[in-house]
Protein backbone atom coordinates (compact mmCIF):
# COMPACT_ATOMS: atom_id res chain seq x y z
CA UNK A 1 0.00 0.00 0.00
CA UNK A 2 2.80 2.33 1.07
CA UNK A 3 4.59 1.67 -2.23
CA UNK A 4 1.43 2.45 -4.16
CA UNK A 5 1.07 5.72 -2.32
CA UNK A 6 4.71 6.66 -3.06
CA UNK A 7 4.27 5.69 -6.68
CA UNK A 8 1.09 7.74 -6.93
CA UNK A 9 2.85 10.72 -5.34
CA UNK A 10 5.80 10.32 -7.71
CA UNK A 11 3.47 10.21 -10.73
CA UNK A 12 1.67 13.29 -9.43
CA UNK A 13 4.97 15.19 -9.00
CA UNK A 14 6.06 14.08 -12.47
CA UNK A 15 2.79 15.31 -13.93
CA UNK A 16 3.17 18.64 -12.13
CA UNK A 17 6.78 18.98 -13.32
CA UNK A 18 5.84 18.16 -16.93
CA UNK A 19 2.91 20.54 -16.71
CA UNK A 20 5.13 23.23 -15.20
CA UNK A 21 7.72 22.83 -17.92
CA UNK A 22 5.07 22.94 -20.62
CA UNK A 23 3.49 26.06 -19.16
CA UNK A 24 6.91 27.73 -18.77
CA UNK A 25 7.84 26.96 -22.34
CA UNK A 26 4.48 28.12 -23.67
CA UNK A 27 4.73 31.40 -21.77
CA UNK A 28 8.26 31.89 -23.05
CA UNK A 29 7.17 31.24 -26.64
CA UNK A 30 4.17 33.55 -26.40
CA UNK A 31 6.28 36.28 -24.75
CA UNK A 32 8.86 36.09 -27.53
CA UNK A 33 6.10 36.30 -30.14
CA UNK A 34 4.58 39.25 -28.34
CA UNK A 35 7.96 40.99 -28.14
CA UNK A 36 8.36 40.50 -31.87
CA UNK A 37 4.90 41.92 -32.50
CA UNK A 38 5.70 44.93 -30.30
CA UNK A 39 8.93 45.57 -32.22
CA UNK A 40 7.13 45.23 -35.55
CA UNK A 41 4.44 47.59 -34.31
CA UNK A 42 7.10 50.07 -33.31
CA UNK A 43 8.74 49.79 -36.73
CA UNK A 44 5.38 50.20 -38.41
CA UNK A 45 4.63 53.24 -36.24
CA UNK A 46 7.98 54.82 -37.09
CA UNK A 47 7.47 54.09 -40.77
CA UNK A 48 3.96 55.55 -40.80
CA UNK A 49 5.14 58.56 -38.80
CA UNK A 50 7.93 59.15 -41.26
CA UNK A 51 5.56 58.73 -44.20
CA UNK A 52 3.11 61.22 -42.66
CA UNK A 53 5.91 63.77 -42.26
CA UNK A 54 6.88 63.33 -45.91
CA UNK A 55 3.24 63.81 -46.95
CA UNK A 56 3.03 66.95 -44.79
CA UNK A 57 6.14 68.44 -46.41
CA UNK A 58 4.84 67.46 -49.86
CA UNK A 59 1.60 69.29 -49.10
CA UNK A 60 3.59 72.37 -47.98
CA UNK A 61 5.41 72.19 -51.28
CA UNK A 62 2.21 71.93 -53.31
CA UNK A 63 0.57 74.78 -51.39
CA UNK A 64 3.53 77.08 -52.02
CA UNK A 65 2.60 80.11 -54.15
CA UNK A 66 -1.11 79.53 -53.51
CA UNK A 67 -3.35 81.59 -51.17
CA UNK A 68 -3.08 78.74 -48.63
CA UNK A 69 0.71 78.53 -48.55
CA UNK A 70 2.25 78.03 -45.11
CA UNK A 71 4.77 80.37 -43.50
CA UNK A 72 8.44 79.53 -44.00
CA UNK A 73 8.84 78.96 -40.23
CA UNK A 74 6.14 76.28 -40.27
CA UNK A 75 7.54 74.68 -43.41
CA UNK A 76 11.04 74.58 -41.86
CA UNK A 77 9.55 73.00 -38.71
CA UNK A 78 7.80 70.31 -40.76
CA UNK A 79 10.99 69.49 -42.66
CA UNK A 80 13.00 69.30 -39.43
CA UNK A 81 10.43 66.89 -37.99
CA UNK A 82 10.67 64.75 -41.13
CA UNK A 83 14.45 64.69 -40.88
CA UNK A 84 14.23 63.76 -37.20
CA UNK A 85 11.82 60.91 -38.04
CA UNK A 86 14.22 59.62 -40.70
CA UNK A 87 17.19 59.77 -38.28
CA UNK A 88 15.12 57.98 -35.64
CA UNK A 89 14.68 54.97 -37.97
CA UNK A 90 18.44 54.51 -38.11
CA UNK A 91 18.72 54.25 -34.31
CA UNK A 92 16.66 51.04 -34.05
CA UNK A 93 18.14 48.60 -36.53
CA UNK A 94 21.45 46.83 -36.43
CA UNK A 95 21.24 44.28 -39.21
CA UNK A 96 23.63 45.45 -41.92
CA UNK A 97 21.32 45.03 -44.93
CA UNK A 98 18.49 46.89 -43.20
CA UNK A 99 20.89 49.56 -41.96
CA UNK A 100 22.11 50.11 -45.51
CA UNK A 101 18.58 50.52 -46.83
CA UNK A 102 17.74 53.04 -44.13
CA UNK A 103 21.01 54.95 -44.70
CA UNK A 104 20.09 55.07 -48.38
CA UNK A 105 16.67 56.43 -47.46
CA UNK A 106 18.24 59.06 -45.21
CA UNK A 107 20.51 60.15 -48.06
CA UNK A 108 17.44 60.51 -50.27
CA UNK A 109 15.75 62.60 -47.57
CA UNK A 110 18.83 64.88 -47.46
CA UNK A 111 18.73 65.35 -51.25
CA UNK A 112 14.99 66.02 -50.98
CA UNK A 113 15.63 68.64 -48.28
CA UNK A 114 18.19 70.44 -50.46
CA UNK A 115 15.75 70.43 -53.36
CA UNK A 116 12.76 71.76 -51.39
CA UNK A 117 14.93 74.47 -49.85
CA UNK A 118 15.85 75.45 -53.40
CA UNK A 119 12.17 75.74 -54.36
CA UNK A 120 11.69 78.20 -51.51
CA UNK A 121 14.72 80.37 -52.27
CA UNK A 122 14.78 80.35 -56.09
CA UNK A 123 13.49 83.32 -58.12
CA UNK A 124 13.46 82.46 -61.80
CA UNK A 125 11.23 82.18 -64.81
CA UNK A 126 8.13 80.02 -64.61
CA UNK A 127 9.59 77.09 -66.55
CA UNK A 128 12.62 76.83 -64.26
CA UNK A 129 10.50 77.19 -61.12
CA UNK A 130 8.07 74.51 -62.29
CA UNK A 131 10.92 72.21 -63.18
CA UNK A 132 12.51 72.57 -59.72
CA UNK A 133 9.18 72.16 -57.95
CA UNK A 134 8.34 69.02 -59.94
CA UNK A 135 11.79 67.63 -59.27
CA UNK A 136 11.38 68.23 -55.51
CA UNK A 137 7.93 66.63 -55.54
CA UNK A 138 9.26 63.56 -57.38
CA UNK A 139 12.05 63.17 -54.81
CA UNK A 140 9.47 63.30 -52.01
CA UNK A 141 7.33 60.67 -53.72
CA UNK A 142 10.39 58.50 -54.21
CA UNK A 143 11.26 58.74 -50.52
CA UNK A 144 7.67 57.75 -49.71
CA UNK A 145 7.83 54.79 -52.11
CA UNK A 146 11.09 53.67 -50.51
CA UNK A 147 9.38 53.68 -47.15
CA UNK A 148 6.59 51.49 -48.56
CA UNK A 149 9.19 49.09 -49.95
CA UNK A 150 11.04 49.01 -46.64
CA UNK A 151 7.79 47.90 -44.99
CA UNK A 152 7.79 44.70 -47.06
CA UNK A 153 11.33 43.98 -45.85
CA UNK A 154 10.65 44.62 -42.18
CA UNK A 155 7.30 42.82 -41.90
Amino acid sequence: MKKKIYFGLFCLILCFLAGGLYIGKSIDKVTKQLEKIIVLNKVEFLRKNMLNKVVLVQSDLMLKDTPHSRKVDIFVKHVEEMHQAASHCLNCHHEESVKQRISHLEEKINVYMKQISRVYTLRANEARLKNEKDSAFDLGQEAGRDQQYNRSIFL
Partner: protein
Protein backbone atom coordinates in the same frame (compact mmCIF):
# COMPACT_ATOMS: atom_id res chain seq x y z
CA UNK B 1 -9.12 27.63 18.73
CA UNK B 2 -12.65 26.94 19.91
CA UNK B 3 -11.47 26.99 23.45
CA UNK B 4 -10.20 30.58 23.26
CA UNK B 5 -11.97 33.36 25.12
CA UNK B 6 -14.35 35.79 23.28
CA UNK B 7 -11.82 38.58 24.00
CA UNK B 8 -9.41 36.89 21.64
CA UNK B 9 -11.96 36.84 18.81
CA UNK B 10 -12.87 40.51 19.39
CA UNK B 11 -9.17 41.49 19.14
CA UNK B 12 -8.76 39.49 15.92
CA UNK B 13 -11.88 41.02 14.33
CA UNK B 14 -10.80 44.52 15.46
CA UNK B 15 -7.34 44.04 13.93
CA UNK B 16 -8.91 42.84 10.68
CA UNK B 17 -11.12 45.91 10.58
CA UNK B 18 -8.08 48.10 11.07
CA UNK B 19 -6.26 46.50 8.14
CA UNK B 20 -7.72 48.78 5.42
CA UNK B 21 -6.57 51.78 7.42
CA UNK B 22 -2.95 50.69 7.17
CA UNK B 23 -2.95 51.49 3.45
CA UNK B 24 -4.92 54.68 3.78
CA UNK B 25 -2.62 55.94 6.51
CA UNK B 26 0.51 55.22 4.56
CA UNK B 27 2.44 58.20 3.30
CA UNK B 28 0.85 59.26 0.09
CA UNK B 29 3.32 60.81 -2.32
CA UNK B 30 2.71 64.49 -2.40
CA UNK B 31 1.72 65.98 -5.68
CA UNK B 32 4.88 67.48 -7.08
CA UNK B 33 4.81 71.19 -6.58
CA UNK B 34 5.00 72.72 -10.00
CA UNK B 35 8.15 74.71 -10.16
CA UNK B 36 7.56 77.10 -12.98
CA UNK B 37 10.85 78.20 -14.42
CA UNK B 38 10.93 81.93 -14.87
CA UNK B 39 10.19 82.49 -18.54
CA UNK B 40 13.17 83.84 -20.40
CA UNK B 41 12.79 86.84 -22.63
CA UNK B 42 12.59 85.88 -26.30
CA UNK B 43 15.25 87.20 -28.64
CA UNK B 44 14.52 86.61 -32.32
CA UNK B 45 17.68 86.14 -34.35
CA UNK B 46 17.35 86.19 -38.12
CA UNK B 47 19.45 84.19 -40.57
CA UNK B 48 19.91 84.66 -44.29
CA UNK B 49 20.16 81.60 -46.57
CA UNK B 50 23.86 81.42 -47.49
CA UNK B 51 23.36 77.69 -48.00
CA UNK B 52 20.16 75.64 -47.93
CA UNK B 53 17.65 76.72 -45.28
CA UNK B 54 18.14 73.70 -43.02
CA UNK B 55 21.94 73.50 -43.13
CA UNK B 56 22.14 77.23 -42.42
CA UNK B 57 19.87 76.92 -39.39
CA UNK B 58 21.80 73.90 -38.13
CA UNK B 59 25.09 75.78 -38.52
CA UNK B 60 23.93 78.53 -36.17
CA UNK B 61 22.03 76.37 -33.65
CA UNK B 62 24.96 75.76 -31.28
CA UNK B 63 25.94 79.42 -31.38
CA UNK B 64 22.36 80.48 -30.58
CA UNK B 65 22.25 78.04 -27.62
CA UNK B 66 25.53 79.45 -26.35
CA UNK B 67 24.23 83.02 -26.54
CA UNK B 68 21.01 81.90 -24.79
CA UNK B 69 22.95 80.26 -21.98
CA UNK B 70 25.29 83.18 -21.41
CA UNK B 71 22.79 86.00 -21.81
CA UNK B 72 19.78 84.50 -20.04
CA UNK B 73 17.70 85.19 -23.15
CA UNK B 74 15.71 82.63 -25.10
CA UNK B 75 17.34 83.03 -28.51
CA UNK B 76 15.11 81.73 -31.28
CA UNK B 77 16.52 81.36 -34.79
CA UNK B 78 14.39 82.56 -37.65
CA UNK B 79 15.62 81.44 -41.04
CA UNK B 80 14.32 83.48 -43.95
CA UNK B 81 13.88 82.31 -47.51
CA UNK B 82 15.07 85.58 -49.08
CA UNK B 83 17.79 88.05 -48.17
CA UNK B 84 15.43 90.99 -48.52
CA UNK B 85 12.94 89.42 -46.08
CA UNK B 86 15.31 90.26 -43.28
CA UNK B 87 14.73 93.97 -43.89
CA UNK B 88 10.95 93.43 -43.92
CA UNK B 89 11.18 91.42 -40.69
CA UNK B 90 13.18 94.14 -38.97
CA UNK B 91 10.63 96.70 -40.19
CA UNK B 92 7.70 94.72 -38.81
CA UNK B 93 9.45 94.29 -35.46
CA UNK B 94 9.75 90.52 -35.76
CA UNK B 95 13.53 90.47 -35.31
CA UNK B 96 15.80 91.69 -32.52
CA UNK B 97 19.01 90.83 -34.29
CA UNK B 98 20.40 88.96 -37.27
CA UNK B 99 23.57 87.60 -38.79
CA UNK B 100 23.79 89.57 -42.01
CA UNK B 101 26.07 89.47 -45.01
CA UNK B 102 27.99 92.59 -45.94
CA UNK B 103 25.46 94.00 -48.41
CA UNK B 104 22.37 93.15 -46.33
CA UNK B 105 24.23 94.61 -43.34
CA UNK B 106 25.03 97.82 -45.22
CA UNK B 107 21.45 97.99 -46.48
CA UNK B 108 20.04 97.47 -42.97
CA UNK B 109 22.38 100.13 -41.56
CA UNK B 110 21.25 102.67 -44.18
CA UNK B 111 17.56 101.77 -44.19
CA UNK B 112 16.91 100.81 -40.57
CA UNK B 113 19.81 102.11 -38.51
CA UNK B 114 20.74 98.67 -37.18
CA UNK B 115 23.97 98.39 -35.19
CA UNK B 116 26.68 95.84 -36.06
CA UNK B 117 28.30 94.22 -33.00
CA UNK B 118 30.70 91.43 -33.97
CA UNK B 119 31.73 89.14 -36.82
CA UNK B 120 33.75 85.93 -36.98
CA UNK B 121 37.47 85.78 -37.57
CA UNK B 122 37.93 82.71 -39.75
CA UNK B 123 40.59 80.06 -39.17
CA UNK B 124 42.82 81.63 -41.84
CA UNK B 125 42.96 84.83 -39.77
CA UNK B 126 40.56 86.79 -41.98
CA UNK B 127 37.25 88.34 -40.97
CA UNK B 128 36.25 89.12 -44.52
CA UNK B 129 35.07 87.38 -47.66
CA UNK B 130 35.03 88.21 -51.34
CA UNK B 131 32.79 87.52 -54.28
CA UNK B 132 33.58 85.25 -57.21
CA UNK B 133 32.32 84.99 -60.78
CA UNK B 134 32.89 81.48 -62.04
CA UNK B 135 32.22 79.14 -64.96
CA UNK B 136 32.82 75.50 -65.73
CA UNK B 137 36.37 74.89 -66.98
CA UNK B 138 35.00 73.12 -70.06
CA UNK B 139 32.52 75.92 -70.88
CA UNK B 140 34.92 77.84 -73.07
CA UNK B 141 33.89 81.12 -71.39
CA UNK B 142 36.93 83.29 -70.72
CA UNK B 143 35.60 86.85 -70.78
CA UNK B 144 32.47 88.99 -70.93
CA UNK B 145 32.21 88.62 -74.71
CA UNK B 146 32.02 84.83 -74.38
CA UNK B 147 29.12 85.26 -71.95
CA UNK B 148 26.72 86.57 -74.59
CA UNK B 149 23.62 84.41 -74.92
CA UNK B 150 24.50 82.30 -71.87
CA UNK B 151 22.63 81.75 -68.57
CA UNK B 152 23.74 83.68 -65.46
CA UNK B 153 22.90 82.59 -61.89
CA UNK B 154 22.89 85.46 -59.36
CA UNK B 155 22.34 84.83 -55.65
CA UNK B 156 20.08 87.67 -54.54
CA UNK B 157 19.71 91.39 -55.11
CA UNK B 158 20.81 91.97 -51.52
CA UNK B 159 24.24 90.32 -51.73
CA UNK B 160 27.70 91.69 -52.48
CA UNK B 161 29.08 88.51 -54.02
CA UNK B 162 25.94 87.42 -55.80
CA UNK B 163 24.78 90.76 -57.21
CA UNK B 164 27.10 93.76 -56.62
CA UNK B 165 30.16 92.00 -58.04
CA UNK B 166 28.41 90.87 -61.26
CA UNK B 167 26.94 94.37 -61.77
CA UNK B 168 30.40 95.91 -61.35
CA UNK B 169 31.85 93.32 -63.71
CA UNK B 170 29.20 94.12 -66.33
CA UNK B 171 29.89 97.84 -65.96
CA UNK B 172 33.64 97.35 -66.30
CA UNK B 173 33.09 95.23 -69.41
CA UNK B 174 30.61 97.62 -71.03
CA UNK B 175 27.60 95.33 -70.72
CA UNK B 176 24.90 97.96 -70.41
CA UNK B 177 21.79 95.81 -70.41
CA UNK B 178 22.74 92.49 -68.90
CA UNK B 179 19.23 91.08 -69.26
CA UNK B 180 19.56 91.43 -73.02
CA UNK B 181 23.17 90.18 -72.97
CA UNK B 182 22.28 86.85 -71.40
CA UNK B 183 19.70 84.35 -72.62
CA UNK B 184 18.49 83.90 -69.05
CA UNK B 185 19.25 85.40 -65.63
CA UNK B 186 17.81 84.23 -62.34
CA UNK B 187 18.35 84.32 -58.56
CA UNK B 188 19.21 81.06 -56.86
CA UNK B 189 18.61 82.53 -53.40
CA UNK B 190 21.66 80.79 -51.88
CA UNK B 191 25.38 80.86 -52.66
CA UNK B 192 25.46 77.07 -52.52
CA UNK B 193 22.84 76.74 -55.27
CA UNK B 194 24.60 79.28 -57.51
CA UNK B 195 27.79 77.21 -57.23
CA UNK B 196 26.09 73.86 -57.85
CA UNK B 197 23.93 75.21 -60.69
CA UNK B 198 27.08 76.07 -62.64
CA UNK B 199 28.79 72.83 -61.67
CA UNK B 200 25.76 70.77 -62.74
CA UNK B 201 25.17 72.71 -65.95
CA UNK B 202 21.90 74.36 -64.88
CA UNK B 203 23.59 77.73 -65.50
CA UNK B 204 26.67 78.73 -67.50
CA UNK B 205 28.00 81.51 -65.24
CA UNK B 206 27.49 82.06 -61.54
CA UNK B 207 28.43 84.42 -58.73
CA UNK B 208 28.87 83.51 -55.07
CA UNK B 209 31.09 84.14 -52.04
CA UNK B 210 34.46 82.47 -51.51
CA UNK B 211 33.75 81.27 -47.96
CA UNK B 212 30.81 79.14 -49.06
CA UNK B 213 32.79 77.72 -51.99
CA UNK B 214 35.67 76.85 -49.64
CA UNK B 215 33.29 75.21 -47.16
CA UNK B 216 31.68 73.11 -49.91
CA UNK B 217 35.07 72.19 -51.38
CA UNK B 218 35.94 70.38 -48.14
CA UNK B 219 33.32 67.72 -49.00
CA UNK B 220 33.30 67.94 -52.80
CA UNK B 221 36.60 68.11 -54.66
CA UNK B 222 34.80 68.41 -58.03
CA UNK B 223 34.30 72.11 -57.27
CA UNK B 224 38.04 72.80 -57.38
CA UNK B 225 38.65 70.55 -60.37
CA UNK B 226 35.78 71.69 -62.55
CA UNK B 227 35.17 75.37 -61.79
CA UNK B 228 37.19 78.29 -63.11
CA UNK B 229 37.13 81.71 -61.44
CA UNK B 230 36.86 84.68 -63.81
CA UNK B 231 36.63 87.65 -61.43
CA UNK B 232 36.72 88.52 -57.73
CA UNK B 233 35.40 91.42 -55.68
CA UNK B 234 37.23 93.42 -53.00
CA UNK B 235 37.16 91.88 -49.52
CA UNK B 236 34.12 92.88 -47.44
CA UNK B 237 33.20 92.16 -43.80
CA UNK B 238 32.05 88.61 -43.02
CA UNK B 239 28.48 87.96 -41.84
CA UNK B 240 28.12 90.00 -38.66
CA UNK B 241 25.63 90.07 -35.80
CA UNK B 242 23.57 93.24 -36.03
CA UNK B 243 20.89 94.32 -33.59
CA UNK B 244 17.82 96.47 -34.14
CA UNK B 245 17.78 100.16 -33.40
CA UNK B 246 16.39 100.85 -29.95
CA UNK B 247 17.58 97.62 -28.35
CA UNK B 248 18.54 98.09 -24.70
CA UNK B 249 22.13 99.39 -24.48
CA UNK B 250 23.18 97.04 -21.69
CA UNK B 251 21.86 94.10 -23.71
CA UNK B 252 23.87 95.22 -26.73
CA UNK B 253 27.05 95.34 -24.63
CA UNK B 254 26.22 91.97 -23.08
CA UNK B 255 25.72 90.32 -26.48
CA UNK B 256 28.88 91.86 -27.87
CA UNK B 257 30.92 90.72 -24.87
CA UNK B 258 29.54 87.18 -25.07
CA UNK B 259 30.71 86.88 -28.67
CA UNK B 260 34.05 88.65 -28.16
CA UNK B 261 34.89 86.46 -25.15
CA UNK B 262 33.72 83.19 -26.68
CA UNK B 263 37.26 81.99 -27.37
CA UNK B 264 38.14 82.30 -23.69
CA UNK B 265 36.11 79.32 -22.49
CA UNK B 266 36.22 75.67 -23.50
CA UNK B 267 32.56 75.42 -24.59
CA UNK B 268 32.86 78.61 -26.64
CA UNK B 269 36.06 77.40 -28.34
CA UNK B 270 34.38 74.13 -29.29
CA UNK B 271 31.41 75.93 -30.86
CA UNK B 272 33.73 78.33 -32.69
CA UNK B 273 35.72 75.38 -34.00
CA UNK B 274 32.59 73.69 -35.38
CA UNK B 275 31.53 77.04 -36.83
CA UNK B 276 34.88 77.32 -38.59
CA UNK B 277 36.01 80.45 -36.76
CA UNK B 278 38.86 81.32 -34.43
CA UNK B 279 36.96 84.01 -32.51
CA UNK B 280 34.62 86.98 -32.95
CA UNK B 281 35.96 90.47 -33.57
CA UNK B 282 34.33 93.82 -32.93
CA UNK B 283 32.46 95.29 -35.87
CA UNK B 284 31.26 98.84 -36.39
CA UNK B 285 29.46 100.75 -39.13
CA UNK B 286 32.88 101.94 -40.38
CA UNK B 287 33.70 98.39 -41.48
CA UNK B 288 30.94 98.69 -44.08
CA UNK B 289 32.46 101.79 -45.76
CA UNK B 290 33.93 99.56 -48.46
CA UNK B 291 30.48 98.17 -49.27
CA UNK B 292 28.98 101.67 -49.33
CA UNK B 293 31.64 102.86 -51.77
CA UNK B 294 31.37 99.65 -53.82
CA UNK B 295 27.62 100.27 -54.16
CA UNK B 296 28.22 103.95 -55.02
CA UNK B 297 30.60 102.89 -57.78
CA UNK B 298 27.68 101.38 -59.68
CA UNK B 299 25.35 104.19 -58.54
CA UNK B 300 23.20 102.17 -56.12
CA UNK B 301 21.34 104.30 -53.59
CA UNK B 302 21.13 102.01 -50.58
CA UNK B 303 18.61 104.18 -48.67
CA UNK B 304 16.04 103.75 -51.46
CA UNK B 305 17.25 100.42 -52.77
CA UNK B 306 14.64 97.95 -54.05
CA UNK B 307 15.90 94.57 -52.85
CA UNK B 308 13.11 92.44 -54.32
CA UNK B 309 14.39 89.87 -56.81
CA UNK B 310 12.64 90.58 -60.08
Amino acid sequence: MLGKSPKYYIIIVALMLLLPLINSCSNQPEAPSEKVAPSKKKFYLGLIPEQDLFSQKERYTALASYISEKSGLDVELKILSRYGNIIDNFLSGQLDGAFLGSFTGALAIKKLGVEPLARPLWLDGKSTYYGLIFVRKDSGIKNAQDMKGKRFAFVDKATTAGWLLPLTYFQENSIENFRAWFSETYFTGTHEDAIYDVLNGKADIGAAKNTVLERLTQNDSRLLDELHILATSPEVPANALVVRRGLNNSLKIKLKNILLQMDQDEQGRQILDEFGARKFVETTTKDYNLVFSYAEKIRLDLSNYDYMNR
